[in-house]
Symmetry: C2
Amino acid sequence: MKTAASESLGRPVLVQKYGGSSVATAEHIKNVARRVVARHREGKAVVVVVSAMGKTTDSLINLSREITFHPERREMDMLLHAGEIISTALVAMAVAAEGVPSVSFTGQQAGMLTDASHTQARILAVDGARVTEELRSGKVVVIAGFQGVTEQLEVTTLGRGGSDTSAVAIAVGIGAGECEILTDVDGDYTADPRVVEKPLKMPWCSYDEMLELAILGAKVLHSRSVEIARRFDVPILVATSFRDAPGTVICSPERARKEFGAMEEVSVRGIAHQKNVTKVSLVGVPDQPGTAAKIFAGIGKHEVNINLIVQAEHHGGKNDISFLVESSAFLRVSRFLDELVALVGGERAVVDENVATVSLVGEGVQREPGIAARMFTALAREGINIDLISTSNLMITCVIPKDRAEDAVRALHRELFEKGVVQEPRLD
Amino acid sequence: MKTAASESLGRPVLVQKYGGSSVATAEHIKNVARRVVARHREGKAVVVVVSAMGKTTDSLINLSREITFHPERREMDMLLHAGEIISTALVAMAVAAEGVPSVSFTGQQAGMLTDASHTQARILAVDGARVTEELRSGKVVVIAGFQGVTEQLEVTTLGRGGSDTSAVAIAVGIGAGECEILTDVDGDYTADPRVVEKPLKMPWCSYDEMLELAILGAKVLHSRSVEIARRFDVPILVATSFRDAPGTVICSPERARKEFGAMEEVSVRGIAHQKNVTKVSLVGVPDQPGTAAKIFAGIGKHEVNINLIVQAEHHGGKNDISFLVESSAFLRVSRFLDELVALVGGERAVVDENVATVSLVGEGVQREPGIAARMFTALAREGINIDLISTSNLMITCVIPKDRAEDAVRALHRELFEKGVVQEPRLD
């Protein structure tokens, strides 16, 4: 792919991001360096974005907890950003030791400008001038992921998983044509490989499908990185750094059509499930405009995310409104449930912790009407009761009993992928 | 002491530096925070300069060696400066947890501008504006020692022991009246406490004496920090962070006279010794002007430091020139010894590894003629042979056999300090 940067450098520009498990030890770092140098010697201008080594970030967090449970967010950023500086310097040394000139950059040096929302900063701009200059001089540029700097030179971090976001933003900032996220999983699968016996690797997945999969529990990439990639149409390859194996490309359907030759959309891209959810039902809520808005504004101000909303008719002009929250956030929600019931004039709140979701995700999931029927039939065949159903352009989600989640995923995978009908993902 | 900063802030400004052993664990860091907060509550504006925790720097160096034995110096700076960032953020958190607002700064944020000599950068300027601003708002400011930044925003470090230098430079930069170096030793002693049984703590020591002691083996402070303190006349208190005990003040003789009421200089401030030295003698060197210069220029270009130079008459218009080098540098010296002999037209080089130095240091050591005689007599009484003697305004050094070094120190300490004649240092 020709980009502004590749034309100005006379070489294609590649951004590679290596996660913590890929740089966990000196040996891992040398392995990363060999991979980077191989791409450099292929004639690419390589930018490497690095996470902190192994469990460094967790260790630093634990150290801070020995001191205080309420650190200033600014100080957490100061503390944690040191982890990526260490791994970045070591990767740069390892690349140089392989005979290729290299230079390490902090987020600041790489031009990663953010707002001042410490521990969850948003990227305002990436000034790729200095990175491009070093690439032009033939160097591999190694950049500390996860971190940025404000206009006032305050250190910020982008939140957990932020190195993915750094990598995509840097790819955009320097006009790189490719961005690779290298990690300990070798791509995205049609279902959780810990649950189904024969998961199939997706050769590609659209930005929208990936975002939906992430929301519904199949987290391979940080959603923010996918959102940035979508906005600027930068394809992301998710692959493993531990061996050579094809990964999954996340890109636009248009690009996939060109590169993968797919004439038609497949109906279902993958199956996601999540078990760490709790269902809250507000029963007997008067059917008036604005009720749902009240509920979600009320919850939102407590900074709790809602996963799924289903409204069903109760009786006598009243509705039941159900929603899912992450189980870890439920304690916070439980404190204002009565307040919430009063707010909407409902009868009572009912809480069910024994729930899970199982979802089919795909650009064609709604277009092909047979899919929903096959989903419900497959679950019925297993004797799995469906509590709620929610659909969108990209997904069909069923709320089912938590203890049947894995059975449901296996049944749906057999029905939709192992019969070889809906698509032809790779088996490797 | 009134300074520009203390007048502008309405409070006296104190810089405290805590070494690695003082911040080795979360518990140590909490202890440091309590000490800092106590000084803050006394009404001082406190700036804290912090080293990396315990053995962090060594661990990072070892990690780099697992990757390469020849890292770029720039990358070593990038790697190592992370250590101080971690401890600095943690100290700031611990101070805040004690209820006093605090903020941590990298070297860059603290305005520590250096040249680009990576791993041994020299300080060009300290812009104390941001630090002063935070002090004005009532915060304790915690600064990462050992590090700075170039005009091009490249990260630099000041070399080992550089946090002492940072602390003094920051004290100068913000116009602080006091600088405390808090460490695991509680001051400077009249002799190495591991050698003599009853060392006496010096209540004070002049800048020049401290520099001489450091060169001659009694290393309490990094010499660069003492040089900066001398140039700007900032008194340094060396004390321990582990308990409350008076330390040693390093200051000008004038200030000591005022503060300690000493009417007259003491003759001998302390005894230093060093065993990690090797003696090189160039025998039969023609007595021509410029010969010594040739030798030391020749050695200097190999970046080897020389400790002591003694020239003695040989015979027939020829001289023997002896000098000491650190034993660890001797291997490098040995490679160009023949070259050195040829350069000066000498007969041969003789190497003696079985040497040590023992030195008396004090502003009055030369002024009082009896001191030298007492030194030589005390050594003779122990049967310790003196190989070379060198004197300056501030010291008398004898080169003696390495295996008698401790005996010599004990004999001199008895003679000069335990008889209670030359000065009255504290015993606590």
